[in-house]
């Protein structure tokens, strides 16, 4: 038979045979039938020597080409079958991806700590430093240096916890605010002062849904040449927007504190309803949330710490950390913060 015809037939039939091989074993059989010792291609190769001289180059070239193409077809099919076998194997290793077979431990930073860190970072971004001071503090720093008259009711034992310690002339108490750190900082640092003070404060309050004898406050103080009331307003507006969201607006209302003049309370617009929901669960329809006390530092405070009230002005504010967290997260009782119940703590990871 004509070797050229044989080869043409083989190459024409080969793709179907190769594709029909459904497994690597079957493919080996197909490969043997196409290219093996008893294949027609092998027969043609063996018959080469018997061909006419003038036919030999052409058949030889064709033989090589057919062999190469068959090898190519088989190799491609083999690669495909291998991939498919690998896929089948991997598929057979499937797991239940909804199963929590390995659980890495992760605790929770206390929500109060997270809130402090967040507020501190907002002010660090404005160029503030972070200070701290003693919790068992001299009455002088807690009250006198802050322009609190000796007869002020806040000094009474019904409001402030006093300690059995030290000299009667240097009465020691559990600080009722973080503000004494203001005085300590100014005593030891020259202006300009840009500082925030997070920390624990103490009052003689019995534990209920909104009161703890120990709570956290963040005090802020800016003292520089040319600090004006608008700076207080702008700084607190920035803080409120960073903490409650960029659409937040603020309202300053006149108030009274011994250590600031003028003094104000800051209300922030309700982040939940923005004043649009009379039945709002967060602001109960008021549209604003009472957030913190603030004001321009009273000249008497500057005098108490040795600053020249004629040379600098400043503002101060104090914000309750528990209140910030309770408002933002809808926490119904301040007691959660000291119960240290994992089921509460780990909601805020």
């Amino acid at each position: 038979m004509d070797p050229v015809a044989i080869l043409e037939r083989v190459i024409a039939a080969a793709p179907q045979a190769v594709d029909a091989a459904g497994s690597l074993d079957e493919l080996e059989d197909v490969e043997a039938s196409l290219l093996g010792r008893s294949s027609e291609v092998a027969d043609v190769r063996r018959g080469m020597s018997t061909l006419d001289e003038d036919l030999r180059p052409r058949v030889g070239a064709m033989l090589n080409e057919v062999t190469e193409r068959l090898n190519g077809m088989v190799a491609a099919r083999r690669a495909m079958l291998k991939r498919s076998a690998e896929t089948d194997r991997l598929t057979s290793e499937s797991i239940d991806v909804s199963l929590e077979a390995v659980r890495f431990p992760l605790g929770a930073t206390h929500l109060i700590q997270q809130t402090i860190d967040e507020v501190v970072d907002i002010f660090v971004g404005l160029g503030y430093q972070v200070a701290s001071g003693p919790e068992a503090e001299l009455a002088w720093y807690n009250f006198d240096a802050l322009n609190t008259p000796p007869t002020h009711p806040a000094r009474l034992e019904s409001d402030t916890m006093y300690l059995d310690w030290g000299d009667p002339g240097d009465e020691v108490l559990l600080r009722t605010q973080t503000s004494p750190v203001q005085a300590r900082w100014m005593e030891t640092h020259e202006p300009p002062v840009y500082v925030v003070v997070p920390g624990k404060c103490y009052r003689t309050d019995t534990v209920d849904a909104t009161h703890l004898p120990v709570f956290h406050q963040i005090e802020g103080l800016a003292v520089d040449e040319g600090i004006v009331f608008s700076d207080l307003k702008g700084t607190l507006l920035h803080f409120a927007r960073e903490f409650f969201g960029p659409a937040t607006s603020v309202r300053l209302r006149p108030h009274f504190f011994p250590f600031t003049e003028p003094s104000a309370e800051l209300d922030v617009s309700c982040f939940a309803c923005d004043g649009d929901d009379p039945g709002c669960r967060v602001c109960t329809g008021a549209g604003f949330l009472e957030m913190l006390g603030c004001g321009m530092v009273d000249p008497n405070v500057f005098e108490a710490v040795g600053y020249d009230p004629g040379a600098v002005t400043g503002f101060a504010f104090g914000v309750g950390v528990e209140r910030l967290a309770m408002v933002r997260h809808g926490i119904d009782s301040i007691k959660h913060f000291i119960d240290n119940d994992r089921r509460f703590l780990e909601q805020f990871r």
Partner: protein
């Protein structure tokens, strides 16, 4: 402070009726609105009527027929009350009227006679409990007028929070003044025209304590009839939250709310003698107050004496002996100016907090005393009859002239920014009742009703307040250059590390009981004491974080937690003098943890690790890695801890705390146990700054791993053996780890086996087989020097 809008309008002509707007204005004036109460009319169709004629009912003895004129033709109404006759002004519920409770009045027949409506009692109108008879109205109110107009209904009551610096605003007048300043209109004073009898009073007053009492005014009224107050007065008091008592007492309350000055009345006939003396009490003196409590007086108490001794307490509560009663006919009206701190101490010492003491504590205007007295006296004589005697007492011991404050525009602009000229400032202060003279500086005369304004900066606040806080710009100063300190940053790393290890951060109350502290080896003398604790259990401050943490662990266990790991960072209090401030106790920051039960990674069906001393030690090493601190751990037995399973922790030779396990006994004292992993460390040395590392390039040469197993004395710390073997070959050990520790009878008494795996790698060359052999031999030799014996490799 409750402010009814109708009462307010009596003292100022407000240019707006918009309640929301008024509330916003009050808030922006510094009087926070805590609530706005709307008082509705609780009935319909109840009008003022006049009884023209009363006649018996033809078919009943206990009811009568009345001809009543109520704004139309007289109509017949059947009435069962007998407390009135023809001519009385009464309230008539006309047919179709609705009374409180939804009761509808119809035209109906009563025992055969038609009744065209009903004459009402106070109880039927929801005004009080009085149902003895029908409500007979005082005076001659207009016939046919809706009854609610007599009660000023409907009305609005603003509930305001008044700041402690504004005693003047604890009154309708004070609020009217502030609103007047806002609107630029004048408020007005109530009528205080007084007709006197021409007879002089014989009462005299001596102030022996001019510090305690700046001014004392007294008026005598004879022939007073003590009775119920008229409806309008009772109703106004009800709106501000005061229960009516009698006309005389009600007037003192009324004037206090109206003008802000508390008053007191004596029954003049029960005052002994005709001279009152004001001085401090002596120890041993007693006074029975109006509440019939016998008070032990002391030298801090400022008392009004008569010829028989103490008869009234200043500013807080009158005495029972001179109390006004139903039979009183001669009274003394007192309006006095008391020293705020004195009243504050007295009200607290005797637990007598009242509307009056609240005002005196903050400072009542001494300039107001006589005006308030005149107003109250005038009202008493108007309501209770009687004639006012002449020569009223007015003793002034202090300086009650208005003060003058000098103010420059620069004082204002330094604090409030540019834009405040003398004209603006003068206008604002003038509206607040101050007189401003001169240019720079302005001489500002402050009325005595504003005791809070004594310095230029106080006036600056007034300028800001009236200018409106909402009109200031919002700017941010840019002068700061801050950031967290190294310690603050490292403290955050510490928290993240412990949280990453699965611990929750706790915040505990820093109070501790003596017993809990003693469980951890602290004596009562080592605990700082709160002089005025809320509860006895909270009378000591924590000297260790552990009692609080253990209580918190127990809380979680009680709710079924199978594994709890808590840590806290916080202050503890010692009874040692502080290095930073010798006037204070040393109060270091600490880190502590307490862990019980399952910890660490959880893998399905595999046993989890239970917290013990090794877990504590593992956490310590984790912190060491995170903070780049080398800890030394030396076995130690601090009080409360397990003596064999606890280490003292040292950094560069200095002890910083303990890590390990609580003793089972301690654990049981906190209702926990038996095994609680625990630690308490000083925070400062953990987060102290570190020197930066010099980098070492990782070696590119091959490594060699091998294990060595030694038999050693049981009390030889593994770290000592490991360190000795490492030190013997210097930098060649890349990592190593003790992977087995065991005791076995085959090892002999007091011996243990330690198996260590090492990875060696030279920084600069491939280690040859010969070299490795020599290194290994050196390491074994170093171990043998510590008494170890090679068991295998």
């Amino acid at each position: 402070m409750r402010v009814p809008l109708t009462w307010l309008r009596e003292l100022i002509d407000l240019p707006t009726n918009d309640v929301t707007e008024l509330g916003a204005i009050l808030a922006m004036l510094g009087h926070k609105v805590e609530g706005i109460e709307v008082l509705e009319v609780p009935w319909t169709d109840v009008v003022v009527g006049r009884v023209l004629e009363v006649s018996p009912h033809p078919n009943a003895d206990n009811i009568r027929l009345c001809q009543v004129e109520a704004g139309g033709a007289p109509e017949q109404i059947v009435c069962g009350a007998w407390n009135f006759e023809a001519g009385a002004h009464v309230t008539v519920a006309r047919p179709g009227a609705t009374l409180p409770g939804g009761h509808v009045i119809g035209r109906r027949e009563i025992r055969g006679v038609v009744s065209n409506g009903m004459i009402c009692s106070e109880r039927e109108l929801g005004l009080g409990d009085d149902h003895q008879g029908i409500l007979v109205l005082d005076g001659e109110p207009p016939i046919g007028a809706p009854f609610e107009t007599l009660l000023e209904l409907p009305d609005i009551v603003f509930d305001l929070e008044i700041t402690t610096n504004r005693p003047d605003a604890l009154s309708i007048l004070g609020i009217a003044r502030d609103l007047g300043a806002h609107f630029g209109i004048m408020s007005r004073l109530p009528d205080t025209v007084l007709a006197t009898s021409g007879q002089p009073t014989r009462f005299r007053v001596d102030i022996e304590d001019p510090v305690g009492c700046q001014r004392f005014t007294l008026r005598e009224i004879e022939g007073v009839t003590v009775d119920r107050s008229p409806l309008w007065l009772r109703h106004r008091l009800a709106k501000v939250g005061v229960r009516p008592i009698s006309n005389v007492v009600d007037v003192t309350n009324y004037v206090m709310f109206e003008l802000g000055h508390p008053l007191h009345v004596f029954d003049a006939d029960t005052v002994a003698g005709e001279r009152l003396v004001i001085r401090r009490a002596s120890v041993g003196e007693k006074l029975e107050t109006l509440d019939h409590v016998m008070r032990d007086l002391g030298p801090e108490d400022l008392i009004i004496y008569d010829a028989e001794g103490p008869t009234s307490m200043s500013g807080t509560m009158g005495g029972a002996r001179s109390e006004v009663s139903a039979t009183t006919t001669r009274i003394l009206m007192e309006a006095a100016s008391w020293d705020p701190p004195t009243i504050m101490r007295m009200s607290r010492r005797h637990d007598l907090r009242s509307e009056a003491s609240a005002r005196f504590e903050r400072g009542v205007d001494p300039g107001l005393a006589d005006l308030a007295n005149r107003r109250a006296t005038a009202l008493v004589s108007e309501l209770g009859g009687g004639s006012v005697l002449d020569e009223a007492v007015d003793v002034v011991t202090g300086d009650i002239t208005p003060i003058v404050v000098e103010l420059r525009t620069t004082d204002v602009e330094r604090v409030l920014g540019a834009g405040f000229d003398t004209e603006t400032i003068t206008d604002i202060l003038g509206r607040l009742g101050m007189t401003v003279e001169g240019g720079e500086p302005m001489r500002v005369t402050v009325p005595t009703f504003r005791p809070d304004l004594t310095r230029p900066v106080d006036l600056v606040e007034e300028v800001a307040r009236l200018h409106g806080y909402d009109r200031f710009d919002a700017t941010v100063p840019t002068g700061g250059s801050g950031g967290l300190t190294v310690e603050q940053r490292r403290q955050r790393v510490l928290v993240s590390t412990l949280v990453g290890a699965g611990l929750d951060q706790a915040i505990c109350l820093p109070f501790v009981g003596v017993e809990e502290a003693s469980a951890l080896g602290y004596s009562a003398g080592e605990l700082l004491t709160v002089r005025n604790p809320l509860r006895e259990e909270e009378s000591k401050l924590r000297v260790s974080l552990l009692p609080g943490l253990l209580a918190a662990v127990r809380h979680n266990v009680s709710y079924g937690a199978s594994g709890v790991g808590l840590f806290e960072m916080g202050t503890v209090f010692t009874t040692v003098v502080s290095d930073d401030d010798p006037r204070l106790p040393h109060q270091p920051e600490r880190l502590a943890w307490a862990i019980i039960g399952e910890v660490g990674m959880q893998v399905m069906a595999e046993k989890v690790i239970a917290a013990d001393a090794h877990v504590s030690l593992g956490l310590l090493r984790l912190i060491g890695l995170a903070l780049d601190v080398d800890f030394e751990t030396i076995r130690s037995a601090p009080p409360g801890f397990h003596p064999g399973r606890t280490a003292e922790v040292r950094i560069a030779g200095t002890a910083v705390g303990h890590v390990g396990e609580l003793s089972p006994l301690t654990a049981s004292r906190f209702d926990l146990g038996p095994t609680v992993a625990a630690a308490e460390l000083d925070l400062a040395p953990l987060v102290a700054p570190r020197e930066p590392h010099t980098a070492v390039s990782p070696s590119i040469y091959p490594h060699v791993d091998y294990d060595l197993s030694f038999r050693v004395d049981a009390d030889l710390p593994s770290a000592t053996l490991v360190q000795a073997t490492i030190d013997s070959v210097r930098d060649l050990v890349e990592t190593c780890r003790v992977f087995d520790e065991f005791w076995d009878s085959s090892l002999g008494e007091g011996k243990k086996a330690l198996a260590i795996t090492y990875r060696l790698r030279a920084p600069d060359r491939t280690l040859t087989a010969g070299e490795i052999g020599r290194i290994r031999a050196r390491m074994i030799e170093a171990a043998i020097d510590l008494g170890a014996e090679l068991r295998g490799s």
